[in-house]
Subunit: 337 residues, 2 copies
């Protein structure tokens, strides 16, 4: 298997990605294609022990920075993200992994690879930590204006991901809304509710914002606007609590000692609740495997993202999505008709 990886992605330059790629190639016994500025990659590659790793380099002279927007995505015709996606398109690689600008990866991959047949809108999904497990939130920002049929497809794709990749049997599908009762929600969620209830999915009804972290559902379906706000709110609350903790603690001598004694445990909690620790997002419904790792990834996280890409390929997630999407629309039109 060959996995292409964006060597220019991430906040810290190619070093971390190169290290992660070497680890991945060794552990998963696959070939990794590093895509990016050739000279920079070669320089890093030489300085790291790469015995037993199968690595090739494909030159892509441009990089898209984390802060760049639509204009750069379009203009930079030889960006590492564009070249990486093209490798998948042309069959040179079976999957593409980037820890770069998420919006760029979503935009360019959709443009180059297109959607799977029958998929109306590819969606970005993310695993978030709950009290005891992981929940998949879909969509977290790829589609800001959604119709009920889109959300229905997100549910199917989330179902397949959780079953195929995480081995969760008959995953519980929840619909993000503002109350558990069927009558609660906006126009979008109310119609989606009916569709999901009519489907063969294990639909557990509406869930509320607080349920993202309670583990009440294995998959939480949402339009990309709400999903993105929900994620960012979490980020803000977590940062604020830890900021307040530091400020509050420094005011009091005993609290300082207490903090010192608890420091390791508090760090553990931070790591546990911080969704950025969970190796990134998946672009589901695209005609090619595409994993978006988080920008502040370390080499292990990069390696894990490659592992996830491999799992996508071996579990035939794409084929399953295409098959199930076809079935579902058929079922729903039968119910409606």
């Amino acid at each position: 298997m060959k996995v292409a990886i964006d060597a220019m992605g991430g906040d810290f330059g190619p070093r971390i990605v190169v290290e992660g790629a070497i680890k991945a190639s060794r552990e998963y016994k696959l070939e990794v294609i590093l895509v990016g500025v050739e000279d920079l990659i070669k320089k890093e590659f030489k300085s790291i022990n790469h015995s037993n790793a199968k690595i090739t380099i494909v030159n892509a002279p441009e990089a898209i920075g984390m802060g760049e927007g639509l204009l750069s995505f379009r203009r930079k015709k030889r960006s590492s993200i564009r070249v990486g996606a093209q490798l998948v398109k042309e069959g040179e690689a079976e999957a593409f992994v980037s820890t770069g600008n998420t919006a760029a990866v979503v935009y360019i991959s959709k443009q180059i690879l297109g959607a799977l047949k029958g998929v109306e809108k590819p969606a970005l999904s993310l695993l978030v930590p709950t009290r005891n497990n992981l929940t998949l939130l879909i969509d977290v920002g790829a589609n800001v204006n959604c119709r009920p049929s889109h959300l229905e497809q997100f549910a199917v794709m989330g179902h397949i991901f959780m079953e195929s990749i995480l081995g969760r049997k008959n995953p519980r599908i929840g619909l993000m809304s503002i109350g558990e009762e069927e009558s609660k929600g906006n126009e979008l969620t109310k119609e989606t509710y009916d569709r999901l209830r009519a489907s063969s999915l294990n639909f557990v009804g509406n869930v509320e914002g607080k349920d993202i972290y309670s583990g009440k559902a294995d998959v939480i379906v949402s339009d990309g606007f709400t999903g993105n706000v929900a994620l960012k709110v979490s980020e803000g609350v977590i940062e604020t609590i830890f900021y307040m903790a530091r400020t509050e603690i420094m005011k009091n001598f005993f609290a300082k000692i207490g903090f010192f004694l608890m420091k390791r445990n508090l760090k553990k909690i931070y790591k546990k609740i911080d969704y950025t620790e969970y190796g990134g997002a998946q672009l589901l419904g695209i005609n090619g495997v595409c994993i978006v790792g988080h920008g502040c990834s370390n080499p292990i996280a990069v390696k894990n993202a490659v592992g996830l890409a491999r799992d996508f390929v071996t579990s035939k997630v794409q084929e399953k999505i295409q098959k199930e999407i076809g079935k579902l629309s058929h079922n729903f039109s039968k119910v409606k008709g």
Copy 2:
């Protein structure tokens, strides 16, 4: 001044409300009308020292529980919420305060009092704690399907609230979206962005979910669906972090001692970040003052809610809203035309 208060609201029966009403009457030198099951109120009232408090009772034999829905709101013609709102309608009270079922208060008040002239959709606003101050989030659930003109009006109402009640001069208005750039957002936020930029408000552009707690804006405008999800996500994250902290800490001896030493400080943080501590939500744009205190209010919180109602009346918030709403629509049509 006379303020009507729903004695049946709250999770703990009339006692807390009665205590809060007595405190409020004394402190603010106003008359409080307790609305609810007369016998129950009288029983509580007799057992509490009420010297120097001016309290009257208006009987309302029905109560709407926290878990009840639309059917009860409509059916219970003599509920304390309905009778309380009617007192405002008939001029018997200048404001109505309830710590009961928020959805019931919103529904019934809108039905009985109606919207202020020119206000398309009354909205529910809530003060949330930021790192150093308070930010007003509007709407947090009264309107799940919104148009740009609604959000524009929410901004005006939020502006007036923050200026008149919190004394914040020229409050910064932010629009809840999924990126700071003007181009980020959904159809609703993009058009709202243009409207707010064209207005005379101190519009600071898009804010993200994480900015609710950063204090980047004094008012954050959002449709009620997104606003409600955002709030509930916060609740969930806060609960989960403290749950994880307890679990994590109990695993380790030193952490236990540390926790013991920090306990008071951690409680302080919890109180600081927990928005339920901040005395409830305001129904803005309704033709009558209506404050929704939080269900788990203590007597002090009930008293504060009455104080807030008094501030609404004396600052003439309603008159200001009506005046400014009129002006704004005029300005925007000029810009557009």
